[in-house]
């Protein structure tokens, strides 16, 4: 059999990718599909084995939205956190990345520290640290500092402290984002800045006119990553709830948690698509004119 170069190329390419197609089918697509069919039934663990369950249509989905008093609040909670956290994480990680690429003595050490959350900032460990140490984490551990705060904030001090705690927690989740921003900043052509400098641009102006537009594809990547990360996070209340419904409830239902998982996943999917479409419009791509 004789093949053209093009055909041979495409066959080789597919061979390289075939591994993933198999994995995708077995470990994702088929489970996802089965999850959907199971979510339309009233199966429980014992009836599932004997196949004595019934098809109940969208009953589970209706229950999630109307009868379940916990699911929707958790979902709303997750969205609220997201709206607060995403801009915060993005602004912080961009600022840190900008700082980290400055040529100052010891910046290698600082970069190593900034990546620390990526290495140890995993759910299990961070959870322990924040659970156990609680308020002590923040800089305002000492009584003097707290009293000082009370003078200025009065009643609102505990709220302020918990906000600080929360922000430290959020900052700990921005390791990957910092790293992506640094990679993006490094890929900006330095000659752009030189030209701008010759034309008398200020650093402030250069940031808005060069850095941010050139970085906008990276900002998009980071927004999407942050959304996905917070939706699949260990501390995510919806996921925890689904887990509890699946494994810790006495009636061992299978259909209902499947439906919850589907709703949640569809919700993320739509949200990511919408955000992508919105932000993509504001993104500047180098190749295009």
């Amino acid at each position: 059999m004789h093949l053209t170069l093009k055909q041979r190329q495409s066959i080789t390419g597919m061979t390289f990718v075939a591994l993933w197609i198999v994995g995708f089918l077995i470990f994702l697509l088929v489970p996802l599909f089965r999850n959907f069919t199971l979510s339309l039934t009233d199966a429980r663990l014992n009836t599932y084995r004997t196949r004595e369950y019934q098809y109940i249509g969208l009953g589970n989905y209706l229950e999630a939205f109307t009868a379940d008093i916990e699911f929707i609040p958790y979902l709303v909670d997750t969205i609220q956190n997201l709206v607060v956290d995403v801009p915060f994480i993005l602004a912080f990680s961009l600022a840190v990345a900008l700082l980290a690429i400055q040529k100052v003595p010891g910046n290698a050490l600082f970069r190593a520290i900034f990546f620390l959350p990526v290495v140890i900032g995993s759910a299990v460990v961070v959870g322990r640290m924040f659970d156990q140490l609680g308020n002590q984490l923040v800089l305002f551990r000492s009584q003097n500092a707290q009293q000082f705060l009370y003078i200025y904030l009065g009643e609102r001090t505990p709220a302020f402290l918990s906000f600080l705690n929360r922000s430290v927690f959020v900052l700990w989740r921005s390791g990957v984002q910092i790293l992506i921003f640094i990679a993006g900043l490094k890929s900006i052509d330095p000659s752009l800045y030189e030209v701008a400098q010759v034309d008398g641009a200020s650093p402030w102006g250069m940031f808005w006119k060069i850095t941010l537009p050139m970085l906008s594809p990276v900002v998009l990547v980071n927004i999407i990553y942050t959304i996905i990360d917070s939706f699949t996070d260990y501390f995510n209340t919806v996921l925890r709830y689904i887990q509890v419904v699946t494994f810790n409830s006495s009636d061992m239902r299978l259909g209902y948690p499947s439906a919850l998982g589907n709703i949640y996943f569809l919700f993320i999917f739509i949200l990511v698509m919408v955000v992508f479409a919105l932000v993509n419009r504001m993104t500047f791509y180098r190749g295009e004119r």
Binding site: Q9, S10, F16, V96, A108, I120, V124, L239, F265
Partner: protein, 309 residues
């Protein structure tokens, strides 16, 4: 006649000297500001770790003593001996190292192969298929966990390490899609002449991949391996479902057990805190060591992966 010109030149020289001095001064000021900010941010990142270390060495007296902030009065090393025993450290460490190591290696290799296929070959449906890779990234494993559990139990993989190793070998597993993405971006950035030259020399696609592309991909391999290893190390959802025999447990699972066991003590005060902190530190210690030795390459590698197109 020459005098005025000389004078003017003189003035110019002194002016420009002043200007240079001003610039240097401004740069020093800027550098100081940047440095102070960097120290501030680094502080946020390092304080929890330092606090973890310091608390792990405190006994109950120090924990309740408000005058003890960072340095314990008595180094409570017994926290560590207790944590070491409670975690069954040698055994759990071996389990975790084994599975995280093998999974990360397989995942790095498979994702490199797949990423290369997406980056360097043209075949029908490629871009649509790549959209599916990105789609795989946004499905949280929790959403399909029942099906995954049923799949694993049908394959008779419960109580074994296969459910962690096999998906990794297929480029799935923990955030496999992200790693495929990283490799694709990296390979896309390499010059085409590499393949052309190797092809003219008579190398087939597999040889080109193994001997030309993979050695060049060292920065991407390092980054992906480290991520994969760390995420496998810290994973807690799937191990808690698939493994129930204590002798198979990984470190994070052990940590949960230790914590649950000490919870009763916690209710009556801070008796367990030191030991829990010591256990936590023992769990991440190998990661810290790994990072300590690789961070130099890690930091420069990230800049060279071309993570960003």
């Amino acid at each position: 006649m020459n005098l005025p010109i000389l004078k003017r030149n003189d003035m110019k020289v002194s002016l420009s000297l002043q200007w240079v001095r001003g610039l240097r001064f401004r740069r020093i000021v800027m550098q100081t500001v940047v440095l102070v900010l960097l120290v501030d941010v680094a502080f946020i990142f390092i304080v929890p770790l330092l606090r973890l270390i310091s608390t792990s060495l405190m006994d109950i007296m120090d924990l309740y003593d408000p005058t003890v902030v960072w340095l314990p009065r008595r180094w409570a090393w017994e926290n560590y001996t207790r944590a070491f025993a409670a975690l069954q450290y040698a055994l759990s460490l071996r389990n975790t190292l084994f599975v995280a190591g093998i999974s990360a290696m397989l995942q790095t290799l498979s994702c490199a192969v797949i990423g290369y296929g997406f980056a360097r070959f043209r075949f029908p449906g490629r871009d649509r298929l790549f959209m599916l890779v990105l789609f795989a990234l946004i499905v949280p494993p929790h959403a399909i966990i029942i099906q995954l559990y049923l799949l694993v139990s049908n394959l008779k993989w419960l109580e074994s390490y296969w459910p962690f190793i096999v998906p990794a070998a297929f480029g799935m597993g923990l955030r496999g899609a992200l790693f495929i993405f990283i490799f694709r971006q990296f390979f896309k950035g390499l010059p085409w002449e590499l393949e052309d030259a190797a092809m003219i020399d008579g190398a087939g696609p597999l040889r080109i991949f193994l001997y030309v592309m993979l050695p060049l991909a060292r920065p991407a391999i390092l980054v992906v391996f480290l991520f994969s290893f760390v995420w496998h190390w810290n994973d807690s959802l799937e191990p808690s479902l698939y493994l129930s025999r204590p002798e198979h447990f990984f470190l994070p699972q052990r940590l949960s057990i230790v914590e649950a066991a000490l919870e009763n003590l916690q209710l009556r005060g801070m008796w367990g805190t030191g030991t829990i902190m010591a256990s936590t530190l023992l769990v991440i210690l190998p990661l810290l060591l790994l990072y300590f030795f690789t961070q130099r390459y890690f930091v420069t590698s990230i800049e060279r992966t071309g993570l960003i197109d």
